[in-house]
């Protein structure tokens, strides 16, 4: 068989195919099908996933701007914020001891007199100790979630009349207002603060202020009843 025979056979084949007629019923179905909403393409799940990732990244980026950089870094696996403690400077309950999985690094986020807000990481948990009174360990996600809900995480009063707290980046100063009108102010350090109030002056209210002195959030002072 030569090339001409092949071409002739192809032409005959194409002619026979050219006689094929569409099924009118199926054309009608196609017209109706086209009028319906187009189904999602096969790569829709992939695109949706990418969009979700981008949105997630955008939210994460936005959250990054909400916290003090040192605190933010700590929640993301960086070193603990503030002044690092080691050796004998470590509080006794955090020093290495046999059978105790002591944290690698402990830092003082903020302090007031002898009261210190300590930060450290232990077995993946992010821990804050409120002086020698109490402490709590939670996952970075839980800390972040609470700081996204409110401008501060307030703990206290403990000891004489001390408040500890973590704040977001909008808070520059924390103030306690006394009944006679006076106040005690503390600056936020590394995303945290320690406020040692004078109980004798009857504290009434705690206020978080921004750098312009505008009030962001406040809470009444309530002492636990014995």
């Amino acid at each position: 068989m030569n090339q001409a025979d092949v071409q002739k056979a192809l032409k005959e084949h194409a002619k026979a195919i050219g006689d094929l007629q569409p099924d009118p019923e199926r054309i009608h179905v196609a017209v109706l099908g086209a009028a319906r909403k187009a189904p999602g393409r096969r790569w829709t799940p992939l695109v949706t996933g990418i969009v979700c990732l981008l949105l997630g990244a955008a939210v994460a980026t936005a959250a990054t701007g909400l916290l003090d950089p040192a605190l933010e870094s700590f929640l993301h696996g960086g070193k603990s914020p503030g002044r690092q403690l080691s050796g004998k400077a470590l509080p006794s309950w955090l020093r290495p001891a046999p059978g105790y999985n002591a944290p690698d690094e402990v830092s003082v986020v903020a302090s007031s007199g002898e009261e210190r807000l300590l930060a450290y990481r232990q077995r993946g948990w992010i821990c804050f100790d409120y002086g020698s009174h109490a402490g709590e360990c939670r996952t970075p996600r839980e800390w972040r979630r609470d700081l996204e809900k409110a401008p501060w995480i307030l703990r206290g009063p403990v000891g004489r009349s001390v408040w500890f707290g973590l704040v977001d980046a909008s808070v520059a100063l924390v103030r306690v207002e006394y009944r006679e009108g006076g106040t005690t102010d503390v600056l936020v350090r590394n995303g945290g603060f320690v406020l040692d109030a004078d109980r004798a002056r009857d504290p009434q209210r705690l206020v978080a202020l921004d750098a312009s002195g505008d009030e962001i959030v406040s809470a009444p002072v309530v002492y636990p009843t014995r």
Binding site: M1, D5, L10, I17, L20, P22, R26, A30, V31, A35
Partner: protein
């Protein structure tokens, strides 16, 4: 391109405009034209009119849905052929996943509907031979032989160079010729085997 006179080309363009404005008859007409293109090209390429009907329907749906985005209505046919090419490729992949071949080697016959097989007559080797070509070769041959497109027009459809189209055409034809010769030899071989058996039976 299909050999349209100016008025026919204008008729296509006018119907595209009307279909985009929601004219029901124009949409039916557009669907029919797209369906037919898909049906014929897919039959040539895949050798299976049943599967080609599915391709035709899918092409019609895609054309109707994509019509509002068609910027140059006079390019309707080329655009439709491109959609056909995509749908044929998809259908071929689907068929490959099910390990389906138009020719059943064990039974020695084409797996196509009886009426189509009858219409092929002596040309059934063409379907078998086409199945051995590459997808692009079949598409180019189909556009050339079924729709009479020249190399420039085919190049526009498959977004390739004219030289590539010419090469695909000539290599496709050469391959078909090889296949035809192989078919001829195997037919002669089987005839010889039958003759040998007949002689043995006569001697026995």
């Amino acid at each position: 391109m299909e050999d349209l006179t100016l008025s026919e080309r204008d008729a296509v363009t006018a119907r595209v405009f009307r279909a985009n404005r929601g004219d029901r008859d124009a949409r039916e007409w557009i669907a029919s034209r797209a369906y037919t293109a898909g049906l014929r090209l897919a039959t040539f390429s895949l050798g299976d009119p049943n599967l080609a009907q599915d391709v035709g329907q899918e092409v019609a749906i895609r054309v109707l849905r994509g019509l509002p985005k068609l910027r140059d209505a006079s390019r309707f046919d080329a655009w439709t052929y491109r959609i056909c090419a995509g749908e044929i490729k998809r259908a071929a992949k689907k068929r490959q996943r099910h390990d389906w071949h138009p020719y059943d080697a064990a039974e020695g016959e084409l797996r196509v509907e009886a009426t189509f097989a009858e219409s092929l007559g002596e040309r059934d080797w063409v379907v078998r031979a086409l199945a051995e070509l590459s997808e692009r070769q079949r598409l180019v041959l189909g556009l050339h032989y079924v729709y009479g497109l020249n190399d420039r027009e085919i190049a526009a459809v498959i977004r390739s160079r004219r030289g590539t189209v010419r090469s695909l055409l000539s290599r496709g034809l050469a391959r078909l010729r090889e296949q035809a010769e192989n078919e001829g030899e195997s037919d002669r071989g089987s005839e010889a085997a039958v003759g040998q058996r007949t002689r043995e039976e006569a001697v026995g």
